[in-house]
Amino acid sequence: MNDSTKNVATPPPVPKKKLQMAVYWGAACGGCCVSVLDVHEALFLVLEHADLVFWPIALDTKYKDVEAMPDKSIDLTLFNGAIRNSENEHIAKLLRQKSKVLVAYGSCAHMGGIPGLANFSTKEKLFQRVYKDTESTVNPDNIRPQTSYTVPEGELTLPVFYNDVKPLDKVVDVDYYIPGCPPQTERLVDVFKLIVTGATLPPAGSVVGVFDKGQCDCCKRTKSDNKKIKKFYRPWQIQDDGETCLLEQGIICMGPATRGGCGARCIDANMPCRGCYGPPPDVADPGAKMMSAIGTMIDSDDPMEIQEIVKGVVDPGGTFYRFSLPSALLRRTVQ
């Protein structure tokens, strides 16, 4: 404050309507909600700018209360978790109706995430394994959880378990995507600041809370422009030197097919990227991108040798689509 304004009475702050915000989980682990809480002591600061009107991890609000809210009365909803059952889908539709801006928050809502790996199997196979064949399970009558079951006292119900895992945008329109498993808290804070300061938001459908550059450009390891390798290794088959690009050492790393945003955290811990931030803007399918990246790296012209080298990439499907199977071109295996 300079001298000329010193004696001017400060006008009372105009009471600004706080941001009405909701956080919800579908088929999720809770890690996305934890990423929100990892603002630590700044949590109280967030609460100065936002009213959390629905957040099952932390608040009392019930489905019925959300149903009673006027349409579009929630300014911002962060929906984490995939669509695995009928309850997930029902709440996704309800929150779409009540929210001005709906964000797919985290890898599961964005692309299907780890639970989406179940699309390599089927509901029947999954139930058979979990409820019948697991080695500690004793179930001679082959009892399965029922969506409606009558106990002596009355009827008990459970949601319908779907055959396929879906990302959020397969059941409702999504305004923005914040990727990550879980999203980096710092990126969420960036987006939050953008919204509360009233800045112009990017066009609907954008991926936000990310860096402009790709994962490899965020990675501190040394890289050559001309990667050539003769053999792929699994992380335990080789002693990583801690400095050279993991791919150049022959360890499959999803960096080339991944958007920057996490700060290359796993690589900093000497472990390869698995692509939780999803493909970069110009890449439609992370698996196709990885295959082409690997293709250019193989140091051989001999078809037999190439075939041998490629064999070193074990589980390409489960690795290249670790977080993205339900949203990829592949989507699931044929049943």
């Binding site: 999720a28 409820y131 697991t134 959880p145």
Partner: protein, 486 residues
């Protein structure tokens, strides 16, 4: 038949639903605690390279990801028939002690303390962590968040990420510690130990000094006569990371002590058609339904279960507190469900002492981080104590280390039957015939559930400190005749 439906149970880590059926007189007939979700990790772990599982299974739970990472890492070691190097093992334990510190601090202050510091039947608007802070001072609130952050930062440093950690490789870890980092951890550990001692003092001053609370703990409707399970070291002392699983009976006599790869001799799981979550029980005793006593295979695997199943703690201050707890509560084993909160603080003290000792260990900065692998991979079991119960991962692979089958028994799953029974017992004792329950009564029902810190509860991460209940009284034709909320 009237019924009370609580759906969804909010402030849960995951989804849950409680159905309370009332008889015609208004008393409680039966209670069902349902888990309406399943993701089926056992299935989609199949086909993955086994060394990827420690990173995949953390996504089972974002609240105790470190437990899954450790159990899985140990199972992968077993698949390759390898032991981690001494430094690697200590780094894993260092990480794991921080994981416990973070979780137990948050549970005590955010979930347990509101019932005791503010009061079990207090105004629900005050009965939360904010109310706790008002009662004990804002400085304490800041200390709670600060020490949770310290523990998260230690995990982040060692594991790459504070939530979905990536440190374990077969036979060791991916990253070592330098002296500067070690010093930083040591300072944080010292602070966490002081904070753990302070937490015990709060429990002393607020709970134990209050005769009403001690009476609720010892004589309230919060007691279940169950078997107790926990991981112990070679001296039968509590160990979170390694050892054998010991189960004691209702009198404290050893029922079994098994190595991880023997778990199927002692544990079986049952399927009920009304929940997606299974019900484990003691195989040698058998499933006799939702009943207590030595003839029922239902057991608890909780902080109290762990202390009951052990002969003590491996660190001096925790041992002192362990002795004081049992001296106060009439000797081991204790079956008072609410004593779980005290047991959790004894464990917090142990975790903080262990964290500090490891941070000062001369091998902790070693650079021998991985044991070379020489065996053909095949099959392995890994067990750790998750904060919320004994956690078992079992993998089978082909000779190339590609997973053929996986079986996982998760911490809270152990307690699924016990939680159902605790809820029913509390509801039957507290919801009186002819008098619809008020919010205080409902909270006291809920206290039975909260003591378990179930993994689908948001135990560690909820800001307000109580689980809301909405109770609808249904007339026999299904109409809601009365609704109570808090």
């Amino acid at each position: 038949m009237k019924r009370i439906t609580i759906d969804p149970i909010t402030r849960l880590e995951g989804h849950g639903k409680i159905e309370i059926f009332l008889n015609d007189a208004g008393g409680v007939d039966n209670v069902y605690f349902q888990i309406p979700e399943l993701r089926g990790f056992e299935t989609f772990c199949e086909g993955r390279p086994v060394e990827e599982l420690p990173q995949i299974v953390t996504k089972i739970c974002g609240v105790c990801p470190g437990c899954h990472h450790m159990a899985s890492g140990k199972a992968v070691d077993a698949v390759f028939g390898v032991q981690p190097t001494p430094t690697a093992r200590k780094l894993r334990e260092l990480f794991y002690a921080a994981h416990y510190v973070h979780s137990h601090i948050a549970h005590f202050y955010a979930l347990a303390a509101p019932d005791f510091v503010v009061g079990p039947t207090a105004d629900p608007a005050k009965r939360n962590v904010i109310g706790v802070i008002e009662a004990v001072g804002a400085a304490v609130g800041t200390e709670v968040l600060k020490h949770r952050r310290y523990a998260q930062e230690i995990q982040k440093l060692l594991g790459g990420h504070q939530t979905h950690v990536v440190m374990n490789l077969p036979g060791g870890v991916s990253r070592g510690l330098n002296e500067e980092e070690r010093k930083g951890i040591e300072e944080k550990a010292k602070s966490c130990l002081e904070f753990a001692k302070f937490s015990i003092k709060i429990f002393n001053d607020v709970v134990l000094a209050n005769k009403t609370y001690v009476d609720i703990i010892l004589n309230g409707p919060y007691s279940l006569n169950l078997y107790s399970m926990g991981l112990v070291d070679e001296n039968n002392l509590v160990n979170f990371y390694d050892g054998k699983v010991r189960v004691v009976d209702q009198e404290g006599k050893e029922h079994c002590k098994y190595a991880p790869n023997e778990y199927r001799d002692w544990i079986e799981e049952r399927v009920e058609p009304w929940s997606y979550l299974k019900f484990p029980y003691l195989k040698q005793i058998g499933w006799k339904g939702f009943v207590e006593g030595p003839d029922s295979g239902v057991y608890q695997a909780t902080p109290l279960g762990r202390l009951n199943a052990s002969d003590g703690m491996a660190t001096p201050l925790a041992q002192e507190e362990y002795e004081r707890m049992y001296a106060t509560l009439g000797g081991s084993p204790v079956h008072a469900t609410l004593a779980m909160h005290w047991a959790r603080l004894v464990e917090l003290l142990y975790a903080a002492e262990h964290l500090l000792a490891l941070s000062q260990d001369e091998e902790i900065c070693g650079d021998d981080l991985r044991t070379p692998l020489t065996n053909t991979p095949r099959e392995g079991v890994g067990i750790v104590e998750a904060q919320r119960g004994t956690l078992t991962h079992h993998y089978w692979t082909d000779s190339n280390g590609i997973v053929e089958k996986a079986n996982i028994i998760v911490g809270t799953t152990n307690n699924h039957a016990a939680i159902c029974m605790s809820l029913k017992k509390a509801a039957q004792a507290l919801i009186k015939e002819g008098t619809p329950p008020d919010q205080g009564v409902l909270n006291m029902v809920e206290m039975a559930f909260r003591a378990y810190d179930p993994c689908f509860s948001c135990a560690t991460h909820s800001l307000p400190g109580h689980m809301p209940l909405e109770v609808n009284f249904h007339a026999p034709d299904g109409d809601i005749v009365r609704s109570v909320r808090r």
